[in-house]
């Protein structure tokens, strides 16, 4: 009997060492500086209530033994269990007038919706973020508003919310003229796997719990934009100002950096199979996360753990080359010059890093298009930057000969050595 009991204990202890304790689902949160939740996220905070998102997710988790449903004040957190929440990290709408459609002379008003979220595992007792899994989605809708009406404010709040709901659901319900009953389109039964909500819930369901101590936090430490790129983005170079990041007060670098940081984090998480501490361009390290659960709102001051290893992303510049044309068509190549740096993070200042790897690269994308098409260079550059971030991340795992030849600005040997250093430091396992 004793032998069986011993075996049982051994099995159970292994089970515990594997960090399989349940986590507490504590709802939906928002990354904000201080009490600005509804002004920073006007659509998502409202949509959360309209669709009762916290309840919907709770119901999905209710049958799972590894998830304890409860607010952060639940007694379980006193027992030392970690908590998990879905944090909304960015909500942006960009409206850009692109002229008239040459086919039917209709106005082209491009409205792009950007939504960023992160599954955040945290220790309530230590007030510390332990793991984060980012996801960002951009979805563009073409409306028929004329130049004057092509603004965010000319669209009803319900339509904005419906479009964000489409991003969450992976659906395509949002149409002009949606009324307040648009919410009936969205329910727990029609969540698509391509939607952000399902994607993030899957991450929560397969989350491997960790203890507050003993793991080395890795994250995107810094995103920087060179002066040259900055000038190009503000229209002082070869291109008009970037439509999404220019406001009356100038270039909104914070938004640009957070988008690039989120993209970089997303691919690193996915390819290197590691959790990434969220990149957030804020003052200091303290993040206020307002959680909503069971009609209670609470502000948590979670601290980003001090990174042991950090990735920097540097945006160096943009270049467009026309590569030929016929009577009706034209071809162009858009190149984004960028680079990544990896090292041991020594402190909080930008220079507080012991650099272990530096990889500059140039990503290019080409497109052949009709001369009558309206081409937006910045859309192409944004896409190219995204491709570059994805490629560099994937090439760290397995070097693609073509990419190495065409895009990497260092020798294959050097790249391999840097990749080896990075993978060994982050503890990459195939």
């Amino acid at each position: 009997m004793g032998k069986y009991f011993g075996t049982l204990l051994l099995i159970l202890s292994n089970y515990f060492f594997a960090n399989s304790d349940p986590v507490i689902w504590s709802g939906i949160g928002y990354f904000v500086d201080s009490g600005k939740t509804s002004s920073t996220y006007p659509n998502l905070t409202s949509l959360e209530k309209d669709l009762n998102l916290a309840r919907l997710i709770s119901d999905k988790f209710s049958g799972n033994e590894n998830i304890i449903i409860g607010g952060s004040g639940n007694i379980s957190s006193d027992e030392g269990f970690n908590s998990v929440l879905l944090a909304i990290t960015s909500e942006k709408i960009f409206s850009n007038y692109r002229g008239k459609n040459p086919l039917d002379d209709s106005h082209l008003c491009y409205r792009t919706y950007l939504l960023g979220s992160q599954v955040v595992l945290y220790s309530l007792n230590d007030k510390k973020i332990l793991k984060a899994f980012p996801s960002t989605t951009k979805k563009t809708f073409i409306d028929g508003d004329d130049k004057q009406a092509c603004k965010n404010s000319t669209v009803s709040l319900n339509l904005h919310k419906a479009r964000f709901a489409d991003i969450l659901w992976g659906s395509d319900f949002a149409k002009i003229g949606v009324g307040s009953n648009f919410t009936s389109n969205y329910n727990s039964e029609n969540l698509e796997t391509s939607g952000m909500l399902q994607e993030q819930m899957e991450k929560i369901l397969t989350l491997k719990n960790v203890f507050a101590k003993g793991n080395q936090p890795i994250g995107v430490r810094q995103v920087s934009v060179s002066e040259y790129a900055n000038n190009q983005l503000t229209g002082k170079g070869d291109f008009s100002p970037h439509q999404d990041y220019i406001s009356e007060s100038g270039l909104n670098l914070k938004e640009l950096k957070e988008w690039l940081g989120a993209e970089f984090s997303k691919w690193l998480t996915q390819d290197l199979k590691i959790s990434i501490v969220p990149f957030y361009e804020g003052e200091g390290l303290t993040l206020n996360i307002g959680t909503t659960f069971s009609n209670s709102a609470e502000a948590l001051n979670l601290k980003k753990p001090e990174l042991s290893y950090g990735f920097d992303y540097v945006l160096r510049g943009f270049r467009k080359v026309d590569v030929g044309e016929t009577q009706t068509q034209k071809g162009s190549v858009w190149s984004v010059y960028s680079g990544i740096k990896f090292g041991v993070v020594l402190g909080e200042e930008p220079e507080d890093i012991k650099t272990l790897a530096t990889i500059p690269f140039t990503q290019s994308t080409a497109e052949q298009y009709n001369k009558t098409d309206i081409i937006n260079d910045w859309d192409n550059f944004d896409e190219t930057a995204q491709v570059g971030i994805r490629e560099i991340s994937q090439n760290l795992i397995k070097q693609n000969k073509n990419w190495m030849k065409e895009s990497s600005e260092i020798s294959s040997k050097e790249f391999r050595n840097f990749a080896k250093t990075i993978l060994s430091k982050v503890g990459y396992e195939k």
């Binding site: 159970l12 027992e79 230590d126 510390k128």
Partner: protein
């Protein structure tokens, strides 16, 4: 069923002592870099020299700890400084975890570098400081009082050597014995003496003298302020007094004379001291004066660490400024040493340590 599972999880986790981290602690993470040169090459990215890896690790740990201390508020640093030796002796009590983030054994430059990550138990550190503060919180009577700081840090700019000459001096001395002669009716004392002559050769005809240049007054003033803060006192400086005296129509030019005397003559004159006394009575803005100099030596090599080592010699007086005059309460003639990477850093560290400790000592004496 689910509830049952939850209960099992909770109770087993309690049984599983050691699985959960101690939530009673708050953790602060700092990093430090250690650096050393080696002579015997590398093996498995470590130097072959015996003990060098451990010594470098210790250096990195010290650097990380220094970073942690530098992040603290001034008043915490004050208490830490007073208890530094004890804390360093028990450093491991405050460290929850230490891990190596990077190590590089560079064969070409023959250098070894280690970066460590230290998790510090902030709560244990604060608990220690609270206990230490309880032992030292006193001198409540001094709280709120103001002290005029006339502190002149100096480094030798020029040394004028004594003119040496051989001088022969004849000196006579007497050795005497008392002889008492006492009888029933009288008493007499007679003296028996022997004259001795001695000839002394050598010596100097003129005393050697230093011409100083002023050291970093900001460092001195900042340290003095910190020393006073321990007693909840305020500091005021010559610049404040000049501004105040202008408003009150009082002559404060003697403050410049006082500084010049310290730099050129080596010490204040009695005339200037008298002016300071009158000034105190006229202005009446402070209750104490700290007056004196801190002389900083040139750096010499510290035998243990091989780094520059500087000595600061303090010569200061504490006066009580009353309506009846200035009265000396305490004096300090002490020396302090500091070792740092460069001469400038060592001088700065020695000055700060000397100013703070000596001034604290003066007020502790009264």
């Amino acid at each position: 069923m689910k509830n049952k599972i939850k209960i099992i999880f909770v109770s087993l986790s309690i049984l599983g002592i050691g699985f959960f981290p101690s939530y009673a602690s708050t953790e602060v993470v700092v990093k430090g870099t250690g650096f050393n040169s080696f002579s015997k090459g590398c093996s498995k990215n470590k130097p072959r020299d015996k003990g060098l890896h451990e010594a470098t690790m210790e250096k990195a740990k010290e650097k990380a700890w220094k970073r942690f201390i530098n992040k603290q508020e001034d008043d915490v640093i004050d208490i830490y400084d007073e208890n530094e030796d004890e804390i360093l002796e028990n450093l491991d009590d405050f460290i929850l975890d230490m891990s190596v983030l990077n190590q590089e054994c560079d064969k070409s430059s023959k250098t070894y570098e280690l970066i460590v990550r230290l998790s510090i138990d902030d709560r244990a550190f604060n608990r220690f400081l609270t206990k230490a503060t309880g032992n030292t919180s006193r001198q409540g009577a001094l709280a709120g009082q103001t002290t005029l700081i006339l502190l002149y840090p100096r480094v030798v700019a020029t040394r004028i050597d004594a003119k040496r000459a051989d001088v022969t001096e004849k000196r006579s001395s007497f050795e005497g014995d008392e002889v008492s002669d006492v009888d029933n009716n009288s008493a007499s004392i007679s003296e028996r003496s022997i004259e001795k002559n001695a000839i002394i050769k050598g010596g100097s005809t003129t005393a050697s003298r230093n011409i100083y240049k002023i050291g970093n007054q900001q460092d001195a003033q900042a340290s003095a302020t910190r020393a006073l803060r321990r007693f909840k006192m305020r500091a005021t400086f010559p610049a404040n007094m000049v501004a105040r005296s202008e408003r009150m129509g009082v002559d404060a030019s003697f403050l410049n004379t006082l500084r010049d005397e310290f730099i050129q003559e080596g010490n204040y004159s009695f005339n200037t001291l008298a002016n300071l006394e009158n000034f105190s009575m006229d202005i009446g803005a402070y209750q104490f004066i700290v007056l004196g100099s801190i002389d900083l030596s040139e750096a010499r090599v510290d035998q243990q660490s091989g780094l520059p080592r500087v000595t600061a010699i303090v010569n200061i007086e504490l006066y009580e400024a009353t309506m009846d005059g200035n009265f000396v309460l305490a004096t300090a003639n002490e020396s302090y040493n500091a070792v740092a990477e460069t001469q400038e850093e060592a001088q700065s560290a020695a000055l700060k340590k000397a100013a703070k400790t000596a001034i604290e000592g003066l007020f502790t004496q009264i």
